[in-house]
Amino acid sequence: MAPPSYYMILSAVLFCIGVSGVLLRRNVLIIFMSIELMLNAVNLAFVSLSRAWGSVDGQSIVFFVMTVAAAEAAVGLGIILATFRNRATVNADEINLMRW
């Protein structure tokens, strides 16, 4: 039986890979994917702790996270599409309209 802490370690590792993906890649789509990865890492932690504590609350939260992720994906991908149409790029460096 894998103890809960192992799941936590896996969750942490996946999360940090997601973080590095956000920071290292310049393609906004991949950045977006990395964010999804981070969300899932957190979900994993929730579910494992839900199991460890024997409480179903964690799973409810995961449910909500998924919903939010779905909405986020819809809007976020819409934004990416719109931006691409305007600026013909998915390069994060070149998308800096919010600059000072």
Binding site: Y7, A12, R51, W53, G54, L81
Partner: protein, 176 residues
């Protein structure tokens, strides 16, 4: 879940995650992500959260990822080299990620976890019924709110992605 199986799945998940970051072609990245998500879904089921695990499989690995795929095709993205870009950013990003993972690991091992064993649970733990009971009692308002959120997300997605026609109602970001 036996330990060896967990380690195997964990390795798969990590390989998939690394693939997301390292693959040059967005589609390859996406496929790696799908692999990770599926592995996570398996882990969910292994943890007894069957409902959530299947949801993960269907909604995440299925629907959302297909959305991504469509977008990639729509944009006709080709593989791009891992250009050097901002070296400072890369360096600091790597460093930060490393520091964060080190810290998180330290959190897990130190002090020793309070719970080393999973608690015994009822058979229906993780079933749709239990989950539904939780969602429709304790989290009712949040649940309703998510429905609104999804609606807003759908509308927003449509509005953003829609191609504006001349003289049409000026969707945000829609001026070519």
């Amino acid at each position: 879940m036996p330990l060896w199986l967990f380690i195997f799945l964990a390795a798969l998940a990590i390989i998939g995650a690394a693939g997301v970051v390292l693959q040059r072609h967005p589609v390859h990245s996406l496929l790696s992500l799908v692999m990770t998500l599926v592995v996570i879904a398996v882990l969910f089921i292994g943890l007894g959260a069957a409902t959530v695990g299947f949801l993960q499989m269907i909604v995440y690995a299925g629907a959302i990822m297909v959305l991504f795929l469509f977008v990639i095709w729509l944009l006709n993205l080709q593989s791009q080299p891992l250009e050097p870009g901002h070296l400072a950013l890369k360096f600091l990003g790597s460093l930060g990620s490393a520091a964060l993972i080190a810290e998180l690991l330290l959190f897990v091992v130190h002090p020793p976890p309070a719970i080393t064993q999973n608690r015994a649970v009822a058979m229906d733990f993780g079933s749709i019924g239990r989950l539904a009971q939780s969602l429709f009692t304790d989290y009712l308002i949040a649940f309703e709110a998510t429905s609104v959120l999804l609606l807003v997300g759908v509308i927003g997605g449509v509005a953003l992605a829609r191609r504006t026609t001349a003289g049409g109602g000026g969707a945000p970001g829609g001026t070519p």
